[in-house]
């Protein structure tokens, strides 16, 4: 079992919440450098690139149809003869925007909720977790359809709909971890020492939750990006002729053995984004975790 003396020694180390030299640590990290470079390049391409491309994402050239990559259309064209490069870049704007914002919403709700449930425990925990179970079970499709009918089409609703599902699993993970951390000696020592609850939560619990939360967040962003296309399908998300990565990949997947470029290029952007986010996530994780 854990040696209590050691544990107390460790306590002082672990209590220091956000490391003061976070940025320094980040800058030193290889992962951070790779991740940020990749991500900033992709973002710059998506948000600035379109100004330099002499095509429009909506103008069709029916007689060209789906054409393979060429000098004029670097990524080729889709079935309506639209330039795939600009469609991918403009779609990236939506996907990155929605992905980050919705994930942030889910992150804040899920972490707070799960932490409270796990820390307070007992009946509060039971009640809060049964509420999560309830939300899990409610039919998502019907809820999204209802939202479209009640409020029409708006970007805020996408976050609402995505946020409503994405925070649930995170809340469960955070709650489980909080319960585990709570049983550890250093938290119990802090409680005995009369440290107020909010300080225990911010200093000890949150600190030790960072790792799974960051991992989950970096994986939630791609899930959100794909979920957005499902929501658009139900009539709530972005409107044609605008297309997000999710819908471009979805379309491409149906036609890829005939027009492979329709799948390959959006997928590359999507995958590189995921990769860069995971590099960044790992770097953050390491930076928060200076013990080793």
């Amino acid at each position: 079992m854990i040696n209590s003396k050691k544990e107390k020694l460790e306590l002082s180390k672990r209590a220091g919440s956000v490391p003061t030299n976070l940025w320094q640590t980040l800058c030193k990290s290889n992962n951070a450098r790779i991740g940020f470079t990749l991500f900033l390049t992709l973002s710059a391409l998506c948000f600035i690139g379109p100004f330099f491309i002499p095509h429009s994402y909506e103008t069709t050239q029916l007689s060209i149809g789906a054409s393979a990559p060429s000098v004029v259309h670097l990524f080729g064209t889709d079935v309506l003869g639209r330039d795939l490069l600009i469609r991918t870049l403009v779609g990236g704007q939506i996907s990155i925007f929605v992905g980050f914002l919705a994930t942030a919403v889910a992150l804040i709700i899920g972490t707070t909720y799960g932490m409270i449930a796990g820390y307070v425990g007992k009946k509060t925990d039971a009640l809060m977790m049964r509420f999560v179970d309830t939300l899990y079970a409610l039919p998502f499709t019907i809820m999204v359809i209802l939202l479209t009918v009640l409020f029409g089409r708006s970007l805020v609703l996408i976050f609402l709909a995505i946020g409503a599902v994405e925070w649930l699993t995170l809340a469960r993970i955070v709650r489980g971890e909080t319960r585990n951390i709570k049983t550890q000696a250093f938290v119990q020592a802090a409680q005995l020492n009369g440290l107020p609850h909010h300080q225990i939560i911010t200093k000890h619990i949150l600190r030790n939750l960072i790792s799974p939360v960051i991992v989950f967040a970096t994986l939630t962003i791609p899930s959100v990006i794909l979920l957005e296309s499902v929501i658009s399908f139900l009539g709530l998300g972005v409107q044609a002729p605008l297309a997000s990565w999710g819908s471009l990949i979805n379309e491409g997947a149906q036609k890829f053995d005939v027009y492979p470029w329709l799948l390959i290029f959006p997928s590359i952007f999507f995958s590189l984004t995921i990769l860069s986010l995971n590099f960044i996530g790992d770097a953050f994780r390491d930076a928060f975790d200076p013990v080793l």
Partner: protein, 539 residues
């Protein structure tokens, strides 16, 4: 230890792969040797009760399980004897007497009698059953009144079983296309004892269509049915012409379009329900013998809400219609041999082909729009084009939106809704322009033009034209087809002039078919009786 992990994964993968076996025989090959047809039907049928279903998918399956008084020669579309081996028509043309084939039996061996037909027609016309297509029987005298609950007595309806072999049907008025009606599933008989064993005559919720209970009178009998997995039918030895049936069984597979196409390429189905658009060019180039385009009785159109400005102005609607380049849409986007639509009734609907009364004319469209007060699309309010979510509707909408933008300078927002929400919006008139389609119920222009009648439940455009209504009414008062076609043409002209429906293209049914299939003839009715189909290996 470290290395064992790196080894485990490839090991597991190769273990899985070694268990994978190449299917020794494809369904197509097995089908040929066993005379079993594997056919994709696209979606799960909503049921197997011919009086309760309404779709094309159900038709494909039911055609193997039931037979009406008459049937259709798939090659010539000539009416052939079905359960009725012969019939006579009274002199005034109002009473048909059908003589049933004494060889006709239900799949449990019972003979098919005229009483069974009377029972079936009473069943489908009973208001309580709520049969969606009961109106198909309205040509029978008194049927409409009985169905609408104006009388409770079925004896007022012109259906009479004279004896077990003789059925008399009295019509409401002379109906030239009457003999083609019994080929539709609403006119097919159900087995009364089976129905009554599992509920009352008018019970919708009944277990009689389960394979263990099912009794039908078609060339095949229901063997097994599992949702989303397939319906299997086998040769019905009691069928009246059981000896002439060549297939031993049929497997109906409710597979979606992309999976179906993949299955076809792998030799797992003989016939598909459709072809994914992206694949059409490939089949045309590489396997032209496998792809078919059959004309189909349907029109794809944009429904305009004529009660909302600026669409209330006829010139705006015309401008929108004239600015659509249908040729380019059909050739480059749809690719499946669809016909550009410049009138509403599909060509050759019951012999009638409307005259084309407008063309693709962007100049004229611009002039009209200027006259309506929107030169170069200036000040044109932002309006919406509504479509139900689907890849193909989206593509058409995106293409047309750009045509309007480029030719007329107007921007129209696209808006997609989930299917039932879309139906609801359309019903309530909550749209500016909505994608719509109409598939004919029977071979007569009325099935299309009737849509424009002021009090038609399906005319959501808000357009009302008394003269149009009068023209259509007159078509029901005459029998002479030349005269009727003239009236239909006049109605077409009025419809196209007012443009509440902007016709876009006429449907085509595209499908993939293996060369081993014999006896599958393309026809406008999409009617393929399975007793005429067989399978044989081709080299």
């Amino acid at each position: 230890m470290k290395f064992s992990f790196t080894l485990i994964i490839p090991l597991l993968i190769s273990l899985f792969l070694s268990m994978a076996c190449t299917p020794a025989q494809t369904n197509v090959e097995r089908g040929i040797s066993e005379q079993v047809l594997y056919i994709g039907i696209g979606a799960e049928p909503e049921g197997l009760d011919p009086h309760l279903v309404s779709g094309v998918t159900e038709h494909y399956v039911l055609l193997s399980l039931f037979e009406g008084l008459t049937t259709v020669d798939p090659k010539t579309l000539e009416i052939l004897p079905g359960v009725a081996e012969s019939w006579t028509l009274s002199e005034e043309g109002l009473t048909y007497t059908f003589h049933l084939d004494s060889e006709a039996h239900w799949s449990n061996g019972d003979p098919v009698t005229a009483h069974d037909f009377a029972f079936s027609y009473q069943r489908i016309l009973s208001p309580k059953l709520g049969a969606p297509y009961a109106y198909m029987l309205y040509p029978i005298k008194g049927a409409e009144a009985f169905h609408k609950g104006q009388t409770d007595s079925f004896s007022t309806v012109g259906v009479k079983a004279i004896d077990a072999q003789t059925l008399e049907i009295e019509l409401h008025s002379v109906t030239p296309y009457f003999l083609s009606l019994p080929t539709h599933f609403t006119w097919w008989p159900v087995h009364p004892p089976t129905i009554l064993k599992h509920g009352s005559m008018v019970d919708r919720i009944s277990k009689w269509t389960q394979p263990k209970h099912f009794v039908g009178n078609g060339p095949f009998a229901l063997k097994s049915w599992r949702l989303n997995n397939g319906i299997r039918v086998v040769r019905n030895s009691h069928y009246r012409e059981a000896d002439s049936v060549k297939l031993n069984g049929i497997e109906f597979l409710p597979i979606n379009l992309e999976t179906e196409e993949r299955a076809f390429r792998a030799g797992q189905v003989h016939i598909t329900s459709g072809v994914p658009t992206a694949r059409i060019d490939w089949y045309r180039a590489n396997r032209p013998e496998n792809i078919r385009f059959d004309p189909y009785l349907g029109v794809y159109y944009y429904l305009v809400n004529t009660e909302k400005a600026p669409l209330s102005d006829k010139r705006v609607r015309q401008a929108l219609a004239y600015a659509i380049n249908r040729e380019s849409l059909v050739n480059y986007v749809l690719k499946g041999g669809q016909k550009p639509a410049y009138h509403f009734t599909p060509p050759n609907t019951g012999g009638f082909t409307a005259e084309q009364s407008f063309t693709y004319d962007p100049d004229k469209a611009r002039t009209l729009l200027t006259e309506a007060g929107f030169p170069n699309g200036e000040n044109f309010p932002e309006i919406e084009l509504l479509y139900n979510t689907s890849e193909s509707h989206k593509i058409v909408a995106e293409a047309i939106q750009q045509m309007w933008k480029q030719e007329l300078g107007i921007t129209i927002r696209l808006h997609n809704q989930e299917w039932k929400v879309y139906l609801d919006s359309r019903q309530k008139g909550e749209f500016d322009i909505a994608r719509a389609a109409w598939i004919g119920d029977y071979l007569d222009p009325y099935t299309f033009l009737g849509l424009g009648i002021s009090d038609s439940g399906n005319n959501h455009s808000g357009w009302k034209d008394l003269e149009f209504d009068q023209l259509l009414y007159e078509t029901t008062q005459t029998l002479e087809s030349g005269q009727r076609f003239e009236l239909f043409q006049k109605a077409e002209d009025r419809l196209i002039e007012a443009m509440p429906f902007i016709p876009i293209y006429f449907y085509v049914r595209s499908l993939l078919i293996d060369r081993s299939v014999d006896g599958w003839h393309s026809n406008i009715l999409d009617y393929h009786p399975y007793q005429f189909i067989s399978l044989s290996a081709k080299d």
